[in-house]
Symmetry: C2
Subunit: 492 residues, 2 copies
Amino acid sequence: MRIPLDRQSETPLYQQIESYLRQAILSGNLSANTRLPACRQLAHDLGVNRSTVENAYSALEADGLVFSRMGSGTYVLQQEILPGTPSQSIQHHLPLWQQSLHTHNSISTSEMVEEMLKTGGHPHPINFASGVSDVREFPAEEFRKTLQTVMRRDQIDALEYGEPNGYAPLREGIAHILASQGLQTHPESILITAGSQQAIFLTSQVLLKPNDTILVENPTYSAAIDLFRTLGYQIVGVSMDNQGMQVDRLEKLLQQHHPKLIYTIPNFHNPTGTCLSSIRRRQLIMLAERYNVPILEDDFVGDLRYEGHAQPSLKALDPGGQVIYVSTFSKMLVPGLRVGFIVADGPVYESLLSYKRLSDLATSTLIQRALDAFVTVGRYQTYLHRSCQVFRKRRDAMIKAIERHLPSKVSFDIPSGGLFVWLQLPNGISANELLPIACQEGVAFIPGNFFFIDNLQGEGWMRLNFVSQSVEDIEEGIKRLGAAIRKLRTLK
Amino acid sequence: MRIPLDRQSETPLYQQIESYLRQAILSGNLSANTRLPACRQLAHDLGVNRSTVENAYSALEADGLVFSRMGSGTYVLQQEILPGTPSQSIQHHLPLWQQSLHTHNSISTSEMVEEMLKTGGHPHPINFASGVSDVREFPAEEFRKTLQTVMRRDQIDALEYGEPNGYAPLREGIAHILASQGLQTHPESILITAGSQQAIFLTSQVLLKPNDTILVENPTYSAAIDLFRTLGYQIVGVSMDNQGMQVDRLEKLLQQHHPKLIYTIPNFHNPTGTCLSSIRRRQLIMLAERYNVPILEDDFVGDLRYEGHAQPSLKALDPGGQVIYVSTFSKMLVPGLRVGFIVADGPVYESLLSYKRLSDLATSTLIQRALDAFVTVGRYQTYLHRSCQVFRKRRDAMIKAIERHLPSKVSFDIPSGGLFVWLQLPNGISANELLPIACQEGVAFIPGNFFFIDNLQGEGWMRLNFVSQSVEDIEEGIKRLGAAIRKLRTLK
């Protein structure tokens, strides 16, 4: 135990020891039944006389903070824990440098909405604000068994530092899955990351400096806006229609802003659910080539298609290393594992790998080994197929519920895949005004403005996740949403 | 399957499909026995006639690439895989932006040395270059059981996104362990990170901009130098003696360079193994306060003490939120789990959390839950006690072996804890010249210059890890080192 002692202080050493331990016990940091070091040991550790420690322990015992058991040692007694955290008590004399820190949002939009939903106090709240798929669909028990098999098979190897670009068999497995989905690549072009968030972070950090410009669809993934803003980039939006990014407006923006990167979600876009049309895909790549701008393709749920024809990924259409492709196991399989990946060719791969090493050395090898054993091509296809069946039903349920329970003046396109319905409210209804009322009714969504660069836009829109709730809850949740809209109207 | 088709192309669609599949099969991306989608399904996915797909499949079958099994489908046949990766073939027409990327070292010093050792070709190489403790000491089987228990107990919860600052019970557990080791803190002041590398990355990113100055001990942890250099900081070194950083030289440097951060390893310093003396600890904090500079304390193996008195951590001596404390489970317990933590008070905690979210949202909750269940205060103390016993013996073995097998003119201080002996070679012997010869003899170390800001310094030094090899291998490895030194001398 390394108790800080001040030998220059006028306070006797035994009192310093006593006071450290007292504070640790009363704050709960040393919890009931923790054994304190033997007096001899602590005296040696601290370089003090044994009697000094004995005096400290006696004083604590006299106050009922510890008790000694003959021949066994000194133990902490159960205490009433004092309120007040060290960080609270510290606020009074903060160093100057702490006062000038810029603090950014450290809470995500969906967490904020979840908080509001809780505050709403409904006994059975229904949340359409999630950004991920339905974790309850994940075969956790099968995964547990896989983890066991892997730990038994690899033993201590499963716990060593792994290769910094990722566990080789997992990279091979991903290459096979991607090929089976229509994207040909090579394990050496794949870089494993801590979820797609890290993949986007690394790519933008490698390609942009503060004040550089990034082009994004407007609206787009809200966490990407937060990220790009915090990293100090200029964000320029390209507007969208029901065919995805309006690529015909792109050339002018490229000439005007000289962006260093185009960030796009061409498949089942977040939040709008649209797919970039085939012609626009080729135009986008052609323009990026002509203006020498890399494309970051975020394919977060590209395979979750419920109908219609498959569109090739931009990466599959790109012969020249223009496109950096990012995807993840978090959205479709399971969020908590935090495994995503980048597919990139050419020198940028080395740059990404080098930045990955700087930022966290490597992603947990145990989780990568488990995923490798778990996600075979066959199992992935089966799981994908089953997910698509379940999610298609939920989408249909949501559309029917919207038609049944919401005013006829709402409008939306039916998404052919992905996770979201992007819904426009009747004229004059603000999603932000609606949200607290909806939360009281027991239903939540994400207001549209969170997805726009200028958050005064999108006021009349909302994003509804249709995959994360059961068919019954979807029906009930949309019903509540209808009630909330009626309530808001009577208030106005 | 999203095969990219070009409907404007003169190549017939069936040939485009055939050629995509052919390439996927010959490159090994579609491996033997993979089932291709049914013709009807693929035709639907791609929006082509069923006969188009059938023609493509027939052509592939005629060339012996696939075979069809009645009523079951079309399968890939075993092929000889063509060499040549897509990334190689792409190099010819790289986009311009790719050519201007700065590529940094994407290989670490210890990996480089490990490569050299392999190249040396010795049948039983002994590696003293590692930066971590001995993974073989870790009770992997116990950990496997804990993981099982946790998966059974938490089920799908173990796989959800967790709290971004870390799994609350783990943060509580760490607070208890820290208190039992002499550092009082609060779970709300603890931020879980992906190893201490991420902790250092986050702290420096939050506190410094490119061209800002960071003060470090010289020599210091080589990965930290790489990190700070790549992030564009000015690195200023403070020289060291056998009491650690020469704090009496600090004030002048503070006045001269106005650093934004002081990075220090006060306990069992990497690479030198020294501990900052008690008086200097207080002086360091006082100076940091006076000049309004935060301290980043890297306590990577602070508890691995084999003798002598315990020094309180800087964080424990700091009442005012000046010190940001970083430690990890990677060095002592197990590297592959990638779990470290920051202890910070005041607004900087929120800034760190916010940057953590941006860079990877959160660290795997499953691993955190397993660690929480595994690392109780009692088990930590037991494991620490056992590790110290084993490692002390290894240290003693290395010192004896050095005295026995190396020239009497080598010099070093006996480290009272940690992982490393920092050894000065006899005059005129360069560790860099020695390394390839040593690797041929079957032993490796890290040459000293890797730890200096100016890597022309430290030429006569080397870092030896004494905890990662058995007593027998230490004896044998140092013997080989002696042989290598003699060999180098005869060559000169």
